[in-house]
């Protein structure tokens, strides 16, 4: 893996602003408030723990570049990834109010994160209700994504789950302009994909082979190539409605 990223954002907050703007108009002043709230930008290497579960938090992190996962470890050594994040995602905004998160946030591949102190976020909730609602909204979309994962893992077959994951990540990356010609960075090992879908890496391997053989998508060396999005979506029973990416509702 580790060829160069296909696309990258200039300023740390660009991805978030782009995503928020899809849902609702953002004033110049609001954009400035968000940009100003970033106190620090940090880089991480593959596998690094960015935020450890259970530890009291004073700031929340925004993913600028790369991909990260929310991962819960089980006593028997197994791991479950509850959500993947793409650039522009406010990864642990929920930590602002929960004070601690119960999972780890780990880097998949190389990653850049921008951090906002909770004091700044609190100030936003006190003085900028519209912006606060937008931030709240992003945490609700995360919850919707997690619900869809429950549906996937609970009721879909292994093939469907893997296909669904690829559809979802492809669509979310598309929303921030990180897909080019059906190709996008995907720095997950098959073990990671298994942890995200509730499968073993070996079975993930078999399912990826089937998706490849059926001409739907190829996952290889940190990249995904979507050959036939319609077919992939059909296999996955994928409907992007839960991502709430429609332009400017109401």
């Amino acid at each position: 893996m580790a060829t160069e990223a296909l696309v990258r954002f200039e300023a740390p907050a660009d991805g978030l602003l782009a995503k928020l703007s899809v849902r609702d108009a953002l004033s110049i002043a609001e954009e400035a408030v968000l940009r100003a709230a970033i106190a620090e930008v940090t880089s991480y290497g593959p596998g690094e723990t960015i935020i450890a579960g259970g530890v009291p938090l004073e700031r929340s992190g925004l993913l600028v570049e790369g991909m990260v996962a929310r991962a819960s470890a089980l006593p028997n050594g197994q791991r479950q990834i509850t959500e993947l994040h793409v650039p522009g995602d406010f990864v642990d905004l929920h930590g602002f109010l929960l004070k601690r998160i119960e999972h780890d946030v780990i880097a998949l591949g190389r990653v850049r994160m921008a951090f906002m102190p909770h004091a700044a976020l609190r100030h936003i909730t006190e003085t900028a209700p519209h912006l606060a609602r937008l931030l709240w909204f992003t945490t609700l979309v995360d919850a919707a994504i997690q619900r869809e994962k429950i549906v996937s893992i609970g009721r879909r077959s292994a093939l469907e789950r893997v296909a669904h994951l690829l559809c979802e990540v492809g669509t979310r990356l598309d929303a921030v302009g990180l897909v080019r010609d059906g190709l996008f960075d995907f720095p997950l090992t098959q073990q990671d994909i298994g942890d995200a879908t509730g499968l073993t890496s070996i079975h993930v391997n078999r399912m990826l082979k089937r998706l490849r053989d059926e001409g739907a998508a190829t996952v290889r060396s940190g990249r995904v190539r979507l050959h036939d999005r319609a077919r992939l979506a059909a296999i996955a029973d994928f409907d992007p409605g839960y991502l709430y990416l429609e332009r400017r509702p109401r």
Copy 2:
């Protein structure tokens, strides 16, 4: 089933207020604002759809009495329950900002719901930032509960999943005083439990039998009796941290 409920709240907002008060001090004025925001209280019978997925929403519902489920239907006729709700839960507060929800909300047993118009909620976000943060907080706890369900379904065995569900519901009902001597109302069929755990009703039946035989808990005719909470928690690998029920953090 359908013997009388063990306990009930007097005023519609009591359960919510009790739960919010666990997390943070609530002023008299804030309590009044919440109570005043309730426009209507409605009852529903078993199986009734309270809120249909995909439909634009103008109000959000608070569960006053009974239990409801968020359920997603799949094209093949299967169903997945993404979260169960107990009295005091703001069931579709996320609909306030999402404008529509992607799942149904269905009644399990007899149910009373109180509704708040979105205009009132919006007013709260504009004028009562502390209260708004508390409401936001409740949606974040829902998300944490959903993440734990992902972990359960993704990585725990059938027995563990069922045990975990009972632990969770027992703890959440306990928090609002609806457990008496290890006994609580639980108006789910084995099919419902299967839909909540990603199992078939038949397999749920076998797991319930094992929990009964092991002296952990008995589920029968709409009631759960917890015989040995420690044993049940040990089977389930249950740690209530994700419910964020600690008294007044910070």
